[in-house]
Subunit: 277 residues, 2 copies
Amino acid sequence: MQLIHTIAELRAALAGQQETAFVPTMGNLHSGHISLIELARRHGGPVVASIFVNPLQFGAGEDFSRYPRTLQADCAQLQVAGCDIVFAPDANEMYPEAQTFSVHPPLADELCGAWRPGHFQGVATVVLKLFNMVQPRYAVFGKKDYQQLLILKGLVRQFNLPIVMLEGETGRADDGLALSSRNGYLSQLERAEAPRLYRLLRAAALRVESGDGDFSAIEQSVGDELTRQGWRVDYISLRSRSSLLAPAPDESDLVLLAAAHLGRTRLIDNIECSRPV
Amino acid sequence: MQLIHTIAELRAALAGQQETAFVPTMGNLHSGHISLIELARRHGGPVVASIFVNPLQFGAGEDFSRYPRTLQADCAQLQVAGCDIVFAPDANEMYPEAQTFSVHPPLADELCGAWRPGHFQGVATVVLKLFNMVQPRYAVFGKKDYQQLLILKGLVRQFNLPIVMLEGETGRADDGLALSSRNGYLSQLERAEAPRLYRLLRAAALRVESGDGDFSAIEQSVGDELTRQGWRVDYISLRSRSSLLAPAPDESDLVLLAAAHLGRTRLIDNIECSRPV
């Protein structure tokens, strides 16, 4: 496995490759990331993982500076997983000048975007840059960041990038908690409480699947229960799986998305569900 | 020469090409465009010209609907010039769904951008799409659209596109008028008047080169003279050649840019000049 820090070396290492599979990450890898590498490996070309904590996608007061940087441990995991190239540029390599061009995606002010202004603009901008550096045939993203995945699928489609998007299922701990680098911020007590989010989402999804059509009441009950348990809820929202907008009356394929703070840690999760039509 | 209308056929025709040179146009070609094709041909790879009148870059009340569409004549010229592929998609091929993703370039509200809100956003968005369809090694743009050229050079640099940008000099009629598809809108009288714009820019550039540092007075005198002759001036502005912002006190490489309406035709032109430092 090669560890590469510059764009020039990356391009040289990938020259002529037509089947590169790419897994962009911010590092601090867990088994959720590793399952994305495994997905990438199925396609036979070289597997590239990037590790870059992108300042553009963090807002003022967010956790950019304390976000865990664990390059050595990440590389060890990636090597075992069969990754071929780790691309770990520094901020100056990614942004040698102030990034004055940006990509403006739709849905950027919805859901997480409403709580993190500029976040998805920063994500779309850095991912477009990384795509142009790696020029992959396949790119792999996890469904845990459901809104991000939908936005990046739109980016590829609407900017006509010749990339196939692959989706990885959310990795979960035994108690159901979605794997996330931010779980490392949780205290022992918070970690014990954290799985409640997914438990409540699963219960709500069952209500939807059993035909309960009062989506506001379902969302409200999840939010209320979290609040009672000391969480600070950003949103609980049942949306169309294809558009992430409010579902049309006849739309069956839905996703229930949630973001809430436990102490000073913001957790997100989601669950796909289908209503009977 | 192949005439191609779909992205799929374009990709198939260019598969494996590493040295494609690309000339994006809106058609209605004149010898200025043809000189860009000749620039493209020097690089040895296949030469692709696109012809697409991009609705995204026209504002309400602009000339989108009357912009001349002359595909057959354009193809004849391109064939003679040695173009290999003409890519002429229709609007549905370029925008099969509402284009909800856009590129936001800097300088988009400056100069022409101040008078054409959304124009450079539309230009940057369609050019990024075209780049991803053609995946050229070289892209050729004319200096007549100076601000567009600077913005697109920034697009390539800041989104890390593996494209070399080539710049073509402005083609001019014998009387100095910059070649433009929009010249076709001019009446005979207006056509006789039109070269005044470049004559005034040349005279102003001489003042700059001879050491006159009163840029506002220089800009003003060009504007005043045009107004006296019945033009409606959008802007006359002396800018830094590298940034298109107001020149720094010690900056020598400048460009004088102008946009003005003659009757219902909007003309733009520019001239590079250097002040003694």
